[in-house]
Symmetry: C2
Subunit: 461 residues, 2 copies
């Protein structure tokens, strides 16, 4: 038996490792193809490496090709799979360094080609200094550019999502003048407007110039270097441009081999991460990570959720099943977290906008409290917002903005959302209390109380 | 209508406040009796006030008598209720300052007399310098004693639970030589032995002398001052002795008026916090806080859980019901948290010992991971232990020991326990991930994976 893996990053190599754990090399040969220079690295860590917070690029690599080889997983680096033949059960891979192509037969095929940055036509320019932030190679290129001559002074970051905001902060740490262009009315629009305002204030506080409602029309270059970003409202000079416009599933190869994608552009899979085609799952074809479509457990809608944590879990599930075990991936609930300077931002479940789009009627409750007992030194303001469905009282989503020790508390709310708890039941939760860790009424409990009151008021109204 | 409240601390005054919120003073008169000098204070904060971490005693008082009066709640301070007549619907209270007794009729009676420290006969000594840590008055007395002449040099803390360990650290902060006497094999025995070892190391690291298996037989005094604590293994000199032997429900008054207590010594209540007597609930009699017995939701067993956070919730529930609303308190799951120096310790659900006692068969899984991505600055080691029931795979309990930002993560596990999640399902949880906040596999997820593997191994064995 042979397993071929396309893409040797989180999803692919989690699958390879789990399959190897269950099947010795004499029972299952594993060959992974990777077009890039690295295996299993933390893409989420790139902004922190660029900013200098993390000093060592190699620290971002969880496991090297040599380590995989030692564990009995063959890794062909700088080999790009260019064709999949499902009938003949083989892939064709191009050697990007040595040239030439090789064919590799398979019994099981793990498709983990990841995602590609969204790059509008206007972003496809010849000049140097325009970067995506997708791979370690992108990170290296940015670091080289920042030290190039003449040294860049002005950065424009396009897109105010997680990566955009993290990269804007990284550019500030390099001493650049930074402008962040966001097309909607607020950066970090994955949280509600009232919560986003607090994030916006932190971004402003870093000295980043934020331009919302920005419609980028083009990028100006001269003499091989970027010069400015052109928007509907004027031109912003730039010596470096960072694109934070999100990513889309990298499914071209699968589509060419006859596998249709889902409405989000990602491959459809079943719960075991088997790829689903027009006639049910395709025997021996697996997919995981940024190239697949998953389900939001609260809205019930398909979504594309390109995050390393999902890629690892999905890859693990695929690998367990490939190895003869049984595991399932039940979908996501949209949990995410980041920080801006020392302001922590976290969300789970549905935002107000998402809840509306999904068809829910809901109430919201926002409370300001503190991270520790008010009298305990170091207590920091913390804002918790809850979104609860009318009538049922079910917690649909929650958001937290605060300083030290605030964001990771979203996990408690994520588990409440996952279990479809009502906010009323949540008022009774036995959460941890001691003065150094929480007020006697934990902010989560206060929010649950307020949401319960809001439900009562809504149903009386 | 008149509501009389016995005990003007967390439980009683939460009830008073909620009842007042729903019933105006013309509809409901509220009178609270308090034998002490303070209302609604944070008893959990006392060790931190004694240590000097919290500098202001008044900061521990959430709401003063004057504030309650302003809100339409009459508070009779330094009045101790000495008799309850359920037939005549009145209480008798003694004025501890002015002398004399008053009678107060009631329609509804809220019993919130709290707890009293466990004080063995050997601890009842005439000498000064032996203290419980139950009330703000106790705290004041300790602070005065620490500054008395001759200045105490050697402290002995008896009992290695939360309060004992917190007080031992407070004594170290005052520069004393501190010995902690614990009768079991390890302090902080509310966590499993393997987790407790880590706590023990932190206690040792503070310079506290820990003597386990210690059987205290007496306290020696001379010239009105404590001199030593006598144990079966020898005598430990002491200029101050702090008792951390736990508390028992203060139910004497209720018992005298004919209300039987439960097996834990606490008053039994129904879900709405109505006191339950031999023939069902007693009309118009409510109880909450450290004087009641509650139910552990996982073991199904009655337990005494004297914690401010429960007292507040139970009091709130009683008050809502007294005020004509509807609310219930569904029991606890044994969540608790503290810190020793910078080592954080947290638990929820059942410990191994408790699970065994409750009749469960279970597996355990302990993992060491980090609080942030391993490459992110400030990542600290974190240990997570899970206890899962055999066959069902249900999470019965969990414990966390770690540095910065570790302990409060117990809330996520508490909500998983509360919802009776299986560790298998937990491997798929959508927990927050970003390098400053967690490794890509959150420690909780790694523990869930390991517990799942342990279950599989147990059922194959």
């Amino acid at each position: 038996m042979k397993l071929v893996v396309i893409g040797a990053d989180a999803a692919g190599m989690s699958a390879a490792s789990q399959a190897r754990k269950r099947r010795t090399p004499d029972k299952l040969e594993i060959v992974a193809f990777e077009r890039g220079n690295f295996t299993s690295y933390s893409a989420c860590g790139i902004p922190y490496w660029i900013s200098g917070v993390v000093s060592d690029r190699d620290a971002l690599v969880a496991r090297t090709p040599a380590e995989f080889e030692k564990a009995g997983v063959r890794v062909r680096m700088r080999h790009e799979v260019v064709a999949i033949d499902l009938d003949r059960r083989e892939v064709v891979a191009r050697d990007l360094e040595g040239g030439g192509e090789i064919r590799e037969g398979f019994d099981e095929l793990m498709y983990a080609a990841g995602a590609v940055p969204v790059t509008p036509d206007w972003a496809r320019v010849d000049g140097g200094g325009v970067f995506g932030v997708q791979t370690l190679d992108d990170g290296s290129a940015i670091k080289v550019w920042l030290e190039s001559d003449p040294k860049p002074q002005r950065a424009v970051v396009i897109g105010g999502g997680y990566i955009g905001v993290e990269m804007a902060e990284a550019m500030i740490k390099h001493g650049l003048d930074v402008t962040l262009l966001e097309k909607s009315s607020q950066p970090m629009s994955t949280v509600d407007l009232d919560m986003g305002e607090r994030v916006r204030a932190a971004i402003d506080g870093l000295g980043i110039t934020v331009r919302t409602g920005a419609h980028v029309q083009g990028i100006e270059t001269s003499q091989g270097r970027v010069r400015a970003v052109v928007t509907a409202d004027g031109t912003v000079p730039a010596d470096i441009v960072v694109l934070g416009l999100g990513v889309r599933p990298n499914t071209a190869l699968a589509v060419e081999s006859g596998i249709p994608v889902g409405v989000t552009g990602g491959l459809r899979t079943d719960l075991r991460m088997r790829v689903v085609g027009p006639e049910g799952h395709v025997e021996g074809l697996w997919a995981a990570g940024d190239c697949v479509q998953t389900t939001h457990r609260i809205s019930g809608q398909p979504m594309h959720a390109p995050l390393g944590t999902h890629a690892n879990k999905q890859g693990r599930v695929a690998g367990i099943n490939i190895g003869g075990g049984y595991a399932t991936f039940p979908g996501v609930i949209g949990t995410a977290v980041t920080k801006v300077c020392d302001l922590e931002v976290a969300r789970t479940g549905l935002s107000s906008k998402e809840a509306t789009r999904a068809g829910f009627e809901y109430v919201t409750a926002t409370v300001e409290s503190t991270s520790r007992a008010g009298y305990y030194p170091g207590a920091e303001t913390m804002t918790v917002k809850m979104i609860a469905e009318r009538r049922t009282g079910r917690l649909l989503g929650a958001q937290i903005v605060g300083r030290e020790e605030a964001a990771k508390r979203i996990d408690a709310l994520a588990i409440a959302v996952w279990n479809e708890m009502t906010v009323e039941e949540m008022t009774a939760l036995d959460l941890s209390y001691a003065p150094p860790f929480a007020p006697v009424w934990d902010p989560v409990l206060i929010a649950a109380r307020k949401a319960t009151d809001a439900l009562l008021a809504a149903d009386q109204g």
